[in-house]
């Protein structure tokens, strides 16, 4: 029980911080950004019930997010036109949850019969199908335009109209805390534990009495339910829903966020959702090539840190528990390795930016600002500098990475002997 309280106190602190954030960052840009983050945190954590907790790679999870959004907007418009009875705006995510759960049960029944590649393909198929439907069934989806709504409907309890963005932010925050806490608790239930077990070793899970399909199906349905709640909030937040919300692009975005943050740890997707939403909104102002960097980051994480950012931290847990000194011995080789990578990356970014600049601007103008410094994209010097940085980074990496790996192997071997000697 004390343990449970301890883990909850962390959540309460995070919730309080999130609640006072709009008081510190009170620009409308910040408020919009924070609202978007809240919605995507719910969606990403929900998605990770599949990817990280259940080991199912879905390329079409946005359909539960998006369909719940469409349903919410239609119901809201119905209430506005008084063709539907009043339903409190605060509880709209419940509508989304029901819609998500319904479609999750339906599609999941089919797709969770298979795992691995087949599951991923089926999810992609359903994703494409629903995206196509948005353009075909115009009556419900209204094609490429999507549907608008006005979220200020019905009575105004305590003067809350949900008109101002700040009120929507607190609504999102409220649901974000509730849904994330629920999803966290679910990881601690028999179902949650068996979801991990099925992910790790489905064959074994079957031989301890669990139907692997049933566990996967339940994970799929619950994940879709929470994704639906997020979709509802997304619709309320923008007072609009469009075909892109169900599209494979949205499905891909949530996969990126969960994976880069770290699918193996509960906090990973939250880190990913916050980080990528922030970068998406800010970095896009600095460079047109932002999506290229995102793709590179994703590939890098897949290849070198499949546990994501959270995974990199968590994998040092056993070392820290065995001996703190062992952990500090890793700092120096790590910093050297990171330094060499950063050197190479600066070079790479410089080249990409200059290439991009040259492909856009007509000849003559050559001044391009990279890393707050002016470079001449037409002069050979700038190119040589950045190429030099890349080569330098590669050269240094070849030296520093084996060092880092050696230190890591040493630390892990100490941990292993420690275990067997106990």
């Amino acid at each position: 029980m004390a343990n449970l309280f301890k883990s909850f106190s962390t959540w309460i602190i995070i919730g309080v911080i999130a609640a006072i954030l709009p008081l510190i960052f009170d620009s409308s840009f910040a408020l919009t950004l924070l609202s978007k983050m809240g919605v995507l945190i719910i969606f990403t954590v929900a998605y990770n019930m599949l990817l990280g907790q259940g080991g199912m790679l879905s390329f079409g999870h946005a359909i539960y997010f998006g369909l719940a959004g469409y349903a919410s907007i239609h119901i809201m418009n119905g209430i506005g036109a008084e063709t539907l009875p009043y339903f409190p705006t605060v509880l709209f995510p419940l509508i989304g949850a029901v819609v998500g759960l319904f479609f999750g049960c339906l599609v999941g029944y089919v797709s969770t019969r298979r795992a691995g590649t087949a599951f991923a393909m089926i999810s992609l198929g359903f994703g494409e199908m629903v995206t196509a439907m948005t353009l075909i069934f115009v009556l419900f989806f209204n094609g490429e335009d999507g549907i608008q709504t006005d979220r200020m409907v019905g009575p105004e309890p305590f003067g809350i109209t949900f008109g101002p963005q700040i009120e929507i932010y607190y609504l999102i925050l409220f649901w974000c805390v509730i849904t994330v806490a629920l999803m966290y608790i679910i990881t601690k239930t028999p179902f949650g534990r068996m979801s991990n077990a099925v992910r790790d070793n489905p064959e074994r899970a079957a031989f301890i009495g669990y139907s692997v399909r049933r566990v996967r199906w339940q994970a799929f349905a619950l994940s879709s339910m929470f994704a639906g709640a997020a979709g509802s909030l997304h619709a309320l937040n923008y007072e609009h829903i469009g075909f892109e919300s169900v599209s494979v692009i949205q499905s891909g975005a949530v996969l990126f966020m969960a994976f880069i943050g770290g699918a193996g740890h509960f906090l990973g997707p939250i880190v990913g959702a916050i980080g990528l939403t922030y970068l998406d909104s800010t970095l896009a102002d600095y460079t047109e090539a932002w999506l290229l960097y995102l793709g590179l980051t994703f590939s890098g994480i897949v290849m070198f840190a499949p546990g994501g950012l959270a995974g990199l931290i968590v994998m040092h847990g056993p070392i820290a528990r065995t001996d703190k000194k062992l952990l500090t011995s890793l700092v120096k080789p790590y910093l050297l390795a990171i330094g060499s990578v950063v050197t190479g990356l600066i070079g790479l970014i410089g080249i990409i930016e200059m290439l991009y600049f040259r492909s856009l601007i007509s000849k003559g103008e050559g001044e391009v600002i990279i890393f707050w410094t002016e470079f001449n994209a037409n002069g050979i010097t700038s190119w040589l500098i950045f190429i030099g940085l890349i080569l330098g980074g590669v050269f240094l990496s070849k030296k520093t990475f084996p060092m880092a790996k050696e230190s890591w192997d040493h630390a892990i071997s100490v941990v292993k002997t420690e275990i067997s000697h106990e």
Partner: protein, 249 residues
């Protein structure tokens, strides 16, 4: 004494190849029964058939006098049969403690619950701890199972196998790849856990087999050529020719 497992005219073919041929086998309640035979005799296939991993081509398998050959693996497990694998089969990313606890869940009626918390259940956690003590892995309870030494992983797998309280256990080469001292430890553990349980074991190490088994069945090319006590098996001419004799050359 009644039978724990009964195989009647069991056959299994993969395409043209008949791996198990009209096999009959009775395994008595609470006996330790070893299945031996040369490589490729079909021992692992037989295990997969009994545990529901493969479907029979023909025949019938009964567990405690109830037919199980049309059931899924998880359903057979719920009826009281648990098994280990030739290749270590644990949940590598989960802690040793979690591995055992997951093995217990179904038998305690937790099913697919999303409203109960596993940490809050005293009985479940006490049971997990006492099982960890039984298999001597309590000291590394919170280490990811994949980090354990090979012998410890095998011990953990036996722990998972018995966690659900099954009364019939099947172990597939439990001492394969172990050093002498590790084998000794494993055999002691197996002896201890198979008290008051039915044990079916496939094993290559003849020392282990003759030490452990009450009865031995010899499987050669999909057929059982003899089932008897270790002493009689050792003296059986047909067995010596088919299997044991070849070891001396």
């Amino acid at each position: 004494m009644s039978n724990a497992l009964q195989l009647k005219n069991v056959s299994k073919s993969f395409g043209e190849a008949k791996i198990i041929k009209n096999l009959n086998l009775d395994i008595k309640k609470n006996e330790r029964h070893a299945i031996i035979g040369p490589n490729g005799a079909g021992k692992s296939t037989l295990f997969h058939l009994i545990s529901g991993h493969y479907k029979l081509t023909s025949g019938k398998i009964e567990l405690n006098n109830k037919e199980i050959n049309n059931l899924e693996p998880h359903e057979i497990n719920r009826k009281g049969l648990a098994r280990s694998f030739q290749v270590t089969n644990i949940f590598p990313k989960m802690s040793v403690y979690e591995n055992i606890r997951c093995g217990i869940l179904w038998s305690m009626g937790f099913k697919y619950s999303i409203i109960r918390l596993v940490n809050g259940d005293k009985e479940l956690n006490n049971k997990t701890n006492s099982l960890l003590e039984e298999i001597n892995l309590k000291h590394c309870a919170h280490i990811p199972a994949g980090l354990l030494s090979y012998a410890d992983q095998r011990a953990l797998e036996i722990g998972i196998t018995i966690a659900g309280g099954a009364d019939t256990l099947m172990l597939d080469e439990p001492t394969a790849g172990m050093s002498n001292s590790e084998t000794e430890r494993a055999v002691n553990l197996i002896k201890q856990i198979s008290e008051k349980r039915t044990l079916v074991v496939v094993e290559h190490d003849m020392g282990v087999v003759f030490d452990l088994a009450d009865r031995i069945s010899v499987l050669v090319y999909g057929e059982i050529i003899a089932t008897d006590t270790p002493k009689n098996i050792r003296e059986n001419k047909a067995v010596q020719e088919a299997y044991l004799g070849t070891e001396d050359h």
